[in-house]
Each structure stands twice: as structure tokens, then as C-alpha cells.
Amino acid sequence: MKKSHIFGIVVIAAAIMVIISTAGDASIYVGFAEAKEMAHEGDSKKIHVVGQLKKDAQGEIVGIQDSPNKLAFSFILVDNNNEEQRVYFNEPMPADFLRSEQVVVVGNFQNDHFLASKILMKCPSKYQEETIEVNDV
């Protein structure tokens, strides 16, 4: 066997390792029900939940609770299966949180609380306005 062949095999092996490690370390997207189940079974792996902020009939966001000093907050997320869940986040509210159309929370259930370690937001159009403010026409 030529040296270059050995080299090639090593490279391919490394590439396959990368793919395996990606599959192994990748997280998953689940709903709250499944996340809760996982926690009950003792699986403390952090997962992704995609959902929307809870809104009332007028389209106003409801259920946001700030800690007195705004260093932490919690909100109600409705996942894609329409299940509601209060999510706690130990950081100040992200800048464009209230504008977000869709929210992804990364975290897990701890004692029946969903504790998020990271929040990703998708805004109507990340950097674009979708509403017009009309002042005194």
C-alpha cells in the first residue's frame, strides 16, 4: 500500500468521525409533552422546542413575567402541538423578544419547570418592519 493511500484512509476516517460525532452531539426538536416525558425518565439532555408566544384575542402577548430587577423573566410558549408551557429564562429579556414571530427555546424540564438556557428568535422578517405606525393622518 502506498503512503498516499494510507493518508487517504486516515482522512476518510476523520471525515466519518466528524459525521458520527455530529449525529451523536446533535440535539433534537421536540414538543413540550415529549420533553416532559424525557425528564420523567431521567433524561436530562437539553432539547429544542419551537413555538410561539401566547397571545390573547387582540394579538397582545400575554403571560410575560419579569423579575423585579429584570435580570430574569418567564413567558408562556405555545409549541407546535398547541401545548402551553411557562418557560423560565435566567437572563434579561433578549432585545427583540417581543417582536418575534417564532421562538426556539433550548433547555430542559427541571422539577416541572422548563428552564431555557438559550432562546433563539425569528422575527417577522429579521430586520424588517411588518407593521406601519400611523400617527395623526
Binding site: 503512503k3 426538536y29 429544542h48 429584570k70 432585545a95 430586520y127 407593521t131 406601519i132
Partner: protein, 841 residues
């Protein structure tokens, strides 16, 4: 309504699009013609078409900028990215905030580069420019904004607001023009956002040049000749792209409060990977100049760099990363179009490579371990594997989409802790690169065998071990990974420095490689120390918790500072001096309580604003605010006899409902002291005052107000009271009270007013001390005055302070890398022009 300018813009887009295609066709015909006269006339024709194209594209840029600059808010682009108060430099960032504008920026750079290539090439002009023009056609089609057979092609930046939005107002008054735009995202209101995108897009644009040369070479059967002209441009592209990426990191470091410069976000990864591949391509191109072995890999890597740029464009602009990235664009309905282009480019390139594959030379002989090619190959392979390791997880949303296409339900998500995940692998790549770049240089410049190698390596290895050992003891480096990075980085610097000294003795023009490698190794060390040893210094050692509701971590790692109260933080004494604003014409910062904001950009001075004894603004003057949304928290640091202040900021954008905290950084030689405010009292919240305590006093007699000594200095009748209309029969009496603060005196002026036979009291507040003073009664008989005092909680902030050691090594390393690249570009370009003047290229 300014219809004309929008129509002009749209017309220019179409003109630029059509002329790009015409030019591509002309250049194509010129390449394919066999007759010299045909060749020349097609070339002239194509060149004119490209000039028209370039002119139109620049026209589009000018038109869109005019719309933003003049504030024509009937246009969607101006409305959604700009506002009347935006200064010109932020109008520039508003220009490329949107997808369409950023495509335009890319198009603009390609035009400029195209002009340069037309001027600098003879032989290569036609084939290279044919590819250039096709790519320009592709980019322009992304902003075409035309609907053909129900198919949306591109998104135009010149679309009117009423066509873009389904707002009810347009049903009743179609000609409605909003008075103001919705403004620029506060995160982008930063000077780095003015210069970082153009740099990055110039980097994007330049990756097209090696690609175009390579494709032209494959097309014409000049499989080897393309490398010489492509090499200086590849170097240029790599340095611009690299600097662009780092500028983005620097912006994040200065603006975002995650406390770092690199977050392994998919959008960041999407530019990092092409850069790695481009660097690998450059190395194989250089290796090819000495032997033919590297030709195939040079071709594959050079085209891959550009294709990866197109792929990253797809990733960031198709909306596919929407769930995994914090700053990717969302879908404009163009993902299909982007995907088609991506596939077309990939398949076209593959076709050309496969067609030429058999004709490509390669050495049959086995590469020796002692040859320079071997080391370059190893380096290029490691770079590619590093890129591979990043692109695979970054593409998880793509894998999901593909799996779904074939009917498999996939719910894979990106790794939870992306920083930790990528770092653990990239770290090893960094170590290998440092070792290879150190050792490989010896092979590059000398014919090596076993004994020579031993001689060459002895000194660097011994020096490395000595220095590393010292650093490990000094910095208490204990983590085995860090020790490895430290050793490899130090070795790379020393080995390359040795090579550099040799080059200086012979030919300084050849020192580019060694210098760049030193820069890269320094960057590696800078990254290691600044992130690995970043230390939170704002530890709460009072034993108190700031709030029971906070998680422990927040209570432990943050400091609560009350205004004008010292608190010890490590070796510093910290004092929060209050909130500040900045106004035009006044050096430094203005106390927020010394002004009253009267409009979006203007404020009135409430007292005389002095600097070095000179009054810059007198009470009642109107001042223009600099960045009116931003407030600065003055935090004074005292250490021994030295003092300095940091001004972390909060930017409150009410229109967008955004509150953005940004850090301020004290740069020291050994480390950066990084401070940002986590939270502060809600400015809209009503102040709660304690019950009024009444004090009877006389003129010039000291009394206590909330532990501060105060004196009633003057009581006089006045004719004017701010904000009140007085009639002749009314009486207004002003008391002037001096309150002695710890460092300065404050004047409070409460009023006693009798208007329409009714007594009114107008209190005065000294915000900095949290006290309110009221002139409650006057007793002329005893010459006594009754003063009411009440207190409130003092202003406070909760801040986090972090020390980032040796971060300057990262920035200095960057600079050194750039210098190395510039030397190398100069050398390679000279080679190219020499060949060109011989009529060869």
C-alpha cells in the same frame, strides 16, 4: 410620491441585468471565435456591454442610497431600514441592512473588480470576464423583482411601501406616506457596521476571481496557467475575507453583551469555512509552482472556496437557518431561486472538472515525507477537515430538509452548546496547523533530510519548551488542552521567526509566509488566553443576595452599585456616578438630569454645562443629542491613586421595543477590562418618595437632608417660573438651597407660589442624591422657613465586569497576518506582471 426615482432604479436594475448577460455572451463568443478579428470585435463589444453594466449597477446603488438619504418613506426599503434622525454614516449601514442592499453591495464590488481585471489582463480578459458577467447576472436576478408566469424572480429594493405591506391605511388613502421610517436596528448602529459589511462583501466578491481563472483554465485547456494570475488575487481575497470576519467578531465584542467575539453561530460558520478552504487552496497553488503534484487539489479547492460562498449565501438568505441562527436573514421567497443557482454552479463546475480530469498532470512518484509538498498537503488537509467539521453540523437544517424530501421524518437540532462543541474539535485543528506551519517552513526553504532536520529543529524546540514552561508556571495553566495550544502556538512563532530572520538576510520579499504564520499563531494564543482565562471580576463578596428571585449565578457574578456609593471589586473601588448623555459640541458626557429631552434629537439644558470652567451651554439652551437613544452609565474605577471611568451603555429603541445593553472596554496592555450593565431601574417607572419630613430653618443655617448638609442660601421673589404663567397679582418665591454632596454641591430651587389666591408648592429634586425639597411655609415673623424633605431609593445599576487577558495578542496577530499577506500579494503580483509583459498572460 416620488415615483420617478423608483422607476429609474428598477430600470437600471433591468439594464444592469440585461447588459451583464449581453456582456457574458460577447465574451463567450470572443473566446470561441477562431479568427483574430472576430475575437477582437466580440471582445470590444463585450467590454462596452460590461461598462454599461457597471454604470447601471453603480446607478442602482446611487438611486437606492438617494431614496434612503432623502427619506422617501413611500419606499419600503427606506421605511423599514431608515428614519429621519439617522445620521449619514448609519444611512450607509441602513443601505445594506436588508437583503437587497447587501446583494447590491456584492454586485458593486464585482463591478469594481471587473473593471480592474479588464485593465490588468490581456489573454485572460475574455474567459474570466465571461464568468464574471454570468455571476453578475445571477446576483442581479436576485434583486430583479419581476414576476414571470406566477414565478417571483428576485426581490426589488424599489418596491413601494403600499405594495409591500397589507396595511389598512392604504385602502383609505393609497397615497399615504409615513412621516418617518421605522429606523435602523439599534444593534447595527455602530461604526463597525458601517465598515464591516463592505469588507466582508469585498471578501465574498474576490473569491470569484480565483474561481473565474480556474474555470477559464479548465475551459480553455490551460490547466496550469491560470494559477499565476489567480494567486495574488487569492491572497488578496483571503486577507480581506479574514479581516472582514474578524471585524464582525470585533463588532460583537464591542456591541453585543455575550462577552466574546465568536459564537460559532451558523452565519459566522458560513464564512469561516470558505476562508479555511481558500487558505488551503492558496497553499496548494503555491506548492504547485514547485511541483505538479498539487494541481488537482489546487483546482478543486479554488473552485470550492467560491462554491462554499454561494452555499453560505444560500444558508443565510434562504431562511433555512431561521431556527438555528440568531442573525440569519429570513426567507424572501427566494430560496428556490438560490438553490437553482447553487446547483447550477456546482454541476457546471463538476462537468468542467470531470471533462479535464484525465488531462491533468500528476506525479506518479510517491511524495516523500521530507518534501515540501508533503507538509503543504498535510496543512491543506487539516484546514479542509476543520472546515468539514464546521460545515456538517452547521448544515443540520439542510440535512433535515433533504431527509424530509425522501420521506424520513427528521428532527435533528444543532448542538446545544455550540461554543463548547465546535471549540473541542477546532482546538485540535489549531494545534496541528501551528505545528505544521512551524515545521513545514523549514522544508519549504531547505532541502531536508534526517540530520539537517534535527539541526534545524533543535533550537526552536528547546526555546519553545523553555518559554512554554515559564508561561505555564506564571499563568498557572493547568488544562492539558491549553498546554497543547500554548506549546504549539509558541513553537510556530519561534520556528517562523527563525525562518523570517533567514529571509531578511537574503530577500525580504520572500518573508510574507513566515510573517503571516507568526500572525496566525499569535491569534491562536490570543484566542486561547482571552477566552480560556477570561475571569469575572465583579464577584459579589458582600454575602448579600441582590434578589432572591435571581439564580445563584446572577447573584454571585454581578455587582449592585448604588449611585455615589463606593463598592470594592477586587483591587478596584467602583462608583456609579449616574446616567449620562452626549450632546454635540460638548466634550465628554452630560448628566441626564442636567437636560430635558424635548424632541427625538434635541434637549434643553437645565443648568449651565461647563467644561474646564468654560460654559459651553447655558441654562435654557437647546442642544442636539448624539445618538439620542443611548444612555451612558458612568462607572468610576479607582485603584490606588489612579482613576478612570467606563461608560457601558443602554440603548432604548421604543419603536422597535428593543433595549440593548452594550459594554465599555478599558484596554490595558495585559488584558481588557470589559464592563457591561445587566440591568437598571426602569426609567418609565414612577419614583416612590418617602413621607415628607418638615424642617424649620433660617437663612444660612445648616440642616440635614438625608445625611447631607444643606443650607438655605437665598429666598427671593421672582417673576418667572418655568412652565407656569404668572399674572401680575400672583406671587412666586424661590428658595435656593445648597446641598453638599460627597464630591460636588447641588443647587435645589423649590418655589412657593400664590396664584389666584391659592398657595402652590413646586418641589425641586436632586436626582444624584435621591432627595426632594419643598418650600412649605414662610414665617416672616420669626424669619423662619419650613422646608419639606423626602427621600427615594438612590439610582442603581447591576453590572458584570470581566477581565480578558492577552486579547491584544489576537488583534496584534491579525495585524501581523495582514502585513505578511500584503508582502506575499506584492511578490506574486510582480511575478504575474512580469509574465504578462512578456506577452504570456
Amino acid at each position: 410620491m416620488h415615483y420617478f426615482i423608483g422607476s429609474l432604479g428598477h430600470f437600471l436594475i433591468i439594464a444592469a441585468f440585461v447588459s451583464a448577460l449581453v456582456s457574458a455572451y460577447g465574451y463567450f463568443r470572443s473566446v470561441q471565435s477562431t479568427e483574430i478579428t472576430d475575437k477582437d470585435s466580440w471582445m470590444r463589444f463585450a467590454r462596452i456591454a460590461f461598462w454599461v453594466h457597471g454604470g447601471s449597477a453603480i446607478g442602482v446603488v446611487a438611486t437606492l442610497f438617494t431614496i434612503i438619504n432623502r427619506g422617501y418613506f413611500e419606499y419600503h426599503y427606506a421605511y423599514s431600514h431608515s428614519s429621519t434622525v439617522l445620521p449619514v454614516y448609519y444611512q450607509i449601514s441602513a443601505f445594506w441592512e436588508g437583503q437587497e442592499g447587501s446583494f447590491l453591495l456584492w454586485i458593486f464590488w464585482n463591478v469594481i473588480l471587473g473593471f480592474v481585471l479588464i485593465r490588468t489582463n490581456k489573454f485572460w480578459e475574455a474567459p474570466v470576464m465571461a464568468i464574471f458577467a454570468i455571476v453578475q447576472g445571477f446576483l442581479l436576478s436576485m434583486i430583479l423583482g419581476v414576476v414571470l408566469f406566477n414565478l417571483k424572480i428576485g426581490s426589488s429594493p424599489f418596491i413601494l411601501l403600499r405594495d409591500a405591506m397589507d396595511a389598512p391605511i392604504f385602502k383609505t388613502s393609497p397615497d399615504f406616506i409615513p412621516e418617518d421610517g421605522s429606523g435602523l436596528n439599534p444593534l447595527l448602529q455602530n461604526y463597525w457596521m458601517v465598515i464591516h459589511p463592505p469588507t466582508l462583501f469585498l471578501g465574498f466578491a474576490t473569491t470569484l476571481i480565483p474561481f473565474a481563472y480556474c474555470i477559464a483554465g479548465l475551459w480553455l485547456g490551460k490547466f496550469k496557467e491560470w494559477i499565476r494570475p489567480a494567486l495574488p488575487w487569492s491572497l488578496f481575497s483571503a486577507v480581506v475575507l479574514g479581516v472582514g470576519i474578524l471585524m464582525g467578531g470585533y463588532w460583537a465584542y464591542e456591541t453585543l453583551n455575550f462577552g466574546g467575539y465568536w459564537n460559532w453561530d451558523p452565519v459566522e460558520n458560513a464564512v469561516y469555512v470558505p476562508w479555511l478552504v481558500l487558505i488551503a487552496a492558496i497553499h496548494t497553488m503555491i506548492a504547485f509552482k514547485k511541483s505538479t503534484t498539487a494541481l488537482k487539489s489546487a483546482i478543486i479547492l479554488a473552485v470550492s472556496a467560491f462554491l462554499l460562498i454561494v452555499y453560505s449565501t444560500f444558508l443565510t438568505r434562504s431562511g433555512i437557518l431561521g431556527d438555528s441562527s440568531v442573525h440569519s436573514f429570513t426567507d424572501l421567497g427566494l430560496s428556490g431561486q438560490l438553490l437553482i443557482y447553487l446547483l447550477a454552479f456546482v454541476l457546471g463546475t463538476l462537468f468542467l472538472i470531470i471533462r479535464s480530469w484525465k488531462k491533468l498532470e500528476s506525479d506518479e512518484q510517491e511524495v516523500s515525507t521530507y518534501s515540501r509538498e508533503f507538509w503543504i498537503f498535510m496543512g491543506a488537509t487539516v484546514l479542509c477537515l476543520m472546515g468539514f467539521q464546521v460545515i456538517i453540523p452547521t448544515s443540520i437544517p439542510v440535512w433535515n430538509a433533504i431527509l424530509e424530501l425522501v420521506g424520513v421524518d427528521s428532527n435533528m437540532a444543532p448542538p446545544v452548546d455550540q461554543v463548547g462543541y465546535y471549540t473541542q474539535y477546532q482546538l485540535w485543528g489549531g494545534v496541528l496547523i501551528a505545528l505544521l506551519s512551524g515545521t513545514g517552513q523549514f522544508f519549504w526553504w531547505n532541502k531536508m533530510d534526517k540530520t539537517k532536520l534535527k539541526d534545524a529543529l533543535l533550537l526552536p524546540v528547546v526555546l519553545t519548551l523553555a518559554i512554554t514552561a515559564a508561561v505555564i508556571i506564571l499563568f498557572k495553566v493547568q488544562n492539558i488542552n491549553y498546554i497543547l495550544v500554548l506549546t504549539a502556538g509558541t513553537y510556530s512563532i519561534i520556528a517562523n521567526a527563525k525562518i523570517l530572520l533567514d529571509r531578511w538576510k537574503t530577500n525580504i520579499n520572500l518573508s510574507g509566509g513566515a510573517i503571516s504564520h507568526i500572525g496566525i499563531a499569535m491569534m491562536l494564543l490570543g484566542v486561547l488566553f482571552s477566552s480560556g482565562y477570561s475571569k469575572i471580576v465583579s464577584l459579589n463578596q458582600t454575602g448579600l443576595v441582590w434578589s432572591k428571585e435571581f439564580p445563584d449565578e446572577v447573584n454571585q457574578k454581578n455587582l449592585l452599585l448604588f449611585q455615589n456609593e463606593d463598592r470594592q471589586m477586587g483591587e478596584y473601588s467602583l462608583n456609579y456616578k449616574g446616567t449620562r448623555k452626549r450632546v454635540e459640541g460638548f466634550p465628554g458626557y452630560v448628566n441626564i438630569h442636567d437636560l430635558r429631552q424635548v424632541s427625538e434629537t434635541e434637549a434643553v439644558a437645565l443648568s449651565n454645562l461647563k467644561t474646564k470652567g468654560n460654559v459651553v451651554y447655558s441654562r435654557g439652551d437647546t442642544m442636539t443629542l448624539i445618538t439620542p437613544e443611548t444612555s451612558y452609565f458612568e462607572i468610576e474605577y479607582t485603584k490606588g491613586s489612579s482613576k478612570f471611568s467606563l461608560y457601558p451603555t443602554v440603548q432604548i429603541n421604543e419603536k422597535m421595543n428593543m433595549t440593548v445593553f452594550s459594554p465599555d472596554i478599558k484596554r490595558k496592555l495585559g488584558f481588557d477590562l470589559y464592563t457591561h450593565v445587566r440591568t437598571f431601574p426602569d426609567p418609565d417607572q414612577e419614583t416612590e418618595w418617602s413621607e415628607v419630613e418638615e424642617i424649620i430653618t433660617q437663612l444660612n443655617e445648616p440642616f440635614f437632608v438625608n445625611d447631607f448638609v444643606a443650607t438655605l442660601e437665598k429666598v427671593q421673589r421672582v417673576n418667572d417660573v418655568e412652565g407656569l404663567k404668572l399674572n401680575e397679582s400672583d406671587v412666586a418665591i424661590k428658595a435656593t438651597i445648597k446641598v453638599k454632596g460627597a464630591e460636588q454641591d447641588f443647587m435645589a430651587e423649590p418655589y412657593y407660589i400664590i396664584q389666584n389666591n391659592q398657595a402652590g408648592l413646586k418641589s425641586a429634586i436632586v436626582h444624584d442624591l435621591g432627595v426632594k425639597l419643598t418650600l412649605m411655609a414662610i414665617d416672616p415673623k420669626n424669619n423662619a422657613f419650613s422646608i419639606g424633605t423626602s427621600r427615594t431609593q438612590k439610582d442603581w445599576v447591576i453590572l458584570e465586569a470581566v477581565e480578558k487577558p492577552l486579547i491584544n495578542v489576537l488583534w496584534i496577530g491579525t495585524l501581523i497576518m495582514v502585513i505578511g499577506f500584503v508582502i506575499a500579494i506584492f511578490r506574486r503580483y510582480t511575478e504575474f506582471t512580469k509574465m504578462k509583459s512578456k506577452g504570456l498572460e
